[in-house]
Amino acid sequence: MMQELIQGLKDIVGGEYVSTHLEDRFFYSRDGGTMESFEPDVVVLPQDSNQVSKILSLANKNKVPVYCMGAGLTLSGLHRAISGGILIDMKRMDKIIEVNERSRYVVVEAGISQGKLQAYLKKNYPHLKHSMPDAPPAATIGGNVAIHGSGHLSFLGGFHSDMVTGLEVVLADGRIIRTGSCSVSNYWFAKAPLPDLSGLFLGWFATTGIITKVGLKLYPAHPLSDVRVLICEDPKIMEEIIFKVTDLNIAEDIITWMTPKPDWARGFLHCNVIYGAKTKDELIFKRDLLFEQVRDLIDKKVTGFLPLLPFMKKRFLDVPGKDLVRFADVRKGGGFEYVGAMIPTNLFSDAYKLGLDIAQKHKVAYSLGSRIIGNSHSMMFFYAYAFNRADLADVKNAQNALYETNKKVIDIGGIPWKAEIPAQKEILKKMDKNTKGLIFELKKLLDPNHIMSPGNLEE
């Protein structure tokens, strides 16, 4: 049967884009994090929605599991083929279909990289931009919205899933459906005012369908930008700083970070406030406003602005920033993984303390931080732990620290984001029973043969 299936896949996408080679199955079986490998039987690279539709029909008919990968950069191993079967790599689907300048949205194929979209807009629509995550630029738009990603405009616009204006999705049986305005009109301007079906596919780890096109909000790209960094030693003061800065509402992006390296940063909490402007005067005006907003804390000598050398400024303004990715080499070992936890902003101090305790307990190299989302309604608090891939005990240690972090995050009232499978189970354990029941019913309705990413969102 597998041979027939593979021939079927070759007929759909062309032989050169189907592989059962051990090398490919090995590489696609895992990611850069700590999760163990699960090999797909076959990797397939479709080029358009129709091909995805045919692949799913075929898999559904044969009841073969299907997993979906963008760039595989979650570090939580979410694309791994837990039950074997077909792995779809989406990156050949990378076309920019439409930019609607006046309504400020773009329609793209889901496998397009963040980097390609960023470069295209810079070149062709320099006054527009999309919200980039700090993930490596290979990360796909589809993979990122599918997990409720966040990025450089998340303070303005919320989660990247909030920035979705519509989706094209292929269901398990091969049907191609649309969500949002594009299901009624030629325009992909909004999810409202229709029943919001996009929610059936965002945050579901590809268990309900494969997103093939995304309508995404764009925002004004200011010609000038600046970053100011506030520092303090007390997490309670940082909570205060966040409240004040977000109340001012001038920032595009607000990030906190706490690392033991470099030495000068150890023991301090930092808050990067990034803002844009059309003119120099506006930039200075915003800088002065920011100063006034925290003046009382500065007067009390509990915070201050970090003097920034030009190279530091550039690093902080780089989109995507490379600092976090380089954290992977602090143990000279090619790896880190992070718990990104969605937490209400008022829990900042608890979240911070939790991270320090766990890092100390497990003696793991750490980097902590958070991105403030949507006017401070929540934050993505990250607990990144580095490990040396060549040292299995070190990998296991990081894995334990991650597992414990996930559990503790739930205990304090947060929810692990892009949760590894063990953490998905912890979330479901804590979830309201009726809600969980509805999730399982919806999954069953959309995927009666249970072929879509089996192993995910399961108890």
């Binding site: 050169e16 590489f27 595989g72 980097g115 470069a119 000279k332």
Partner: protein, 382 residues
């Protein structure tokens, strides 16, 4: 640091697949195959598995290794400055091991056999090397300032040969005293080195250096940036030597005043070859020449250290592994040049000249854009 010390340090983040502005994938083998295993990070991970004995040698593995065009985009763009300079050493280390096992893909084997037997990768008897150059003088150190080292591609490939002929004609026109090794030139050996056949490389390099010494060469000019690179950077790692090396475009730039500065009204652009650009960091020589003649010089957005490789390096000119599928970087390059609106795409490497001309033909765009090297361009339009 040993190459095996860095294998596990690849984070598979994929920065290495891109140019600086991330506009599209910039690893030619990944552009062709599109499986992650054909990206630089993919190679790192697969090689580690193979060296640790968890993957066996297979045709796929060999294809993964040998379809690397050694373009060095990954070396320039990997996010980890501490070890990125060693990426190509890792790939070469694995290829050396395959050579030791005697287990390489047939086109690689054929290339190396030709090189061994014929002292050129084309498998053509050496006496035919300079059939096209009967009028060119044998190098005489007393008479000639420069020894022109033409190299395999520009001697034997008919399209690349136009570049050699034009360079010879142009040198004559601007009175550059030069000669060639009419009976003695052999391959520079770079592709043997890149393909992991280090012993053959050393043998060839040693012989070529002896020839250079025998004829008392001092200043050696190459047509191919690949030759220039191997002479300047790899030979000295193995042998003591004392020569000056130049690219033919360096000589043209030196002698620009001997050419009329008639402005050419053509829209042109320049494709930076990996071995002159990313490897030797020379981004100005050709631009100086072209802007001397041309009003409308346009830059491709992937230029200089971000140039999109034509896919011909690392032996792929001979093995065609990067040309296996319908999509490839050479075709992308032609489309980019057309989208830029140029009539003429200039190159300065015989391999690029052939690869891009082939791509243009395959795309059926022969009448839409010219692809020519710097000398051909000057001779035709100045």
């Amino acid at each position: 640091m040993k190459v095996t010390d860095i294998l596990h340090r690849c984070f598979r983040c994929g920065y290495c697949k891109f140019p600086s502005n991330y506009e599209d994938f910039n690893c030619p083998s990944y552009v062709t195959y599109r499986f992650e295993t054909f990206s630089p990070g993919g190679r790192m991970w697969v090689i580690r598995e193979w060296l640790d004995g968890r993957l066996e040698t297979s045709n796929r593995f060999k294809e993964i290794l040998y379809s690397c065009a050694t373009c060095s985009n990954c070396v320039n763009h990997c996010a980890f400055p501490d070890f990125r300079d060693m990426l190509l050493d890792v790939f070469r280390y694995a290829k050396e091991k395959l050579i030791d096992e005697g287990d390489v893909p047939p086109p690689v084997r054929d290339y190396l056999t030709n090189l061994y037997k014929f002292k050129n990768g084309f498998g053509i008897p050496q006496k035919k090397r300079f059939e096209w150059a009967e009028e060119v003088e044998d190098y005489d150190s007393k008479k000639h300032n420069y020894l022109l080292y033409v190299g395999d591609e520009a001697c034997f490939d008919p399209v690349a040969n136009n570049m050699a002929r034009s360079t010879v004609e142009l040198f004559k026109k601007i009175n550059v005293p030069f000669g060639i090794l009419t009976t003695r030139e052999i391959s520079d050996g770079l592709e043997a080195y890149n393909l992991g056949e280090t012993e053959l490389f050393k043998e060839i390099a040693k012989r070529l250096l002896e020839i250079f010494k025998e004829v008392e060469a001092k200043k050696i000019v190459t047509i191919s940036p690949h030759s220039l690179y191997v002479f300047k950077k790899i030979y000295p790692a193995f042998f003591d030597m004392d020569f000056e090396f130049y690219h033919y475009t360096h000589v043209i730039r030196e002698n620009l005043s001997r050419l009329t500065n008639s402005k050419i009204f053509k829209k042109i652009s320049y494709h930076d070859p990996c071995y002159l650009g990313r490897y030797l960091k020379d981004y100005t020589t050709v631009r100086d020449i072209l802007s001397f003649f041309c009003k409308d010089f346009l830059e491709l957005s992937r230029n200089k250290k971000n140039s999109l490789c034509c896919g011909g390096g690392g032996g792929n000119f001979y093995t065609a592994l990067t040309q296996k599928n319908l999509e490839n970087s050479a075709k992308k390059r032609i489309v980019e040049a057309l989208e830029l609106g140029v009539d003429c795409l200039i190159v300065s490497c015989p391999i690029c000249l052939v690869m891009l001309n082939d791509a243009k033909k395959t795309l059926g765009l022969d009448d839409k854009i010219e692809v020519m090297d710097v000398s051909e361009f000057i001779l035709k339009y100045v």
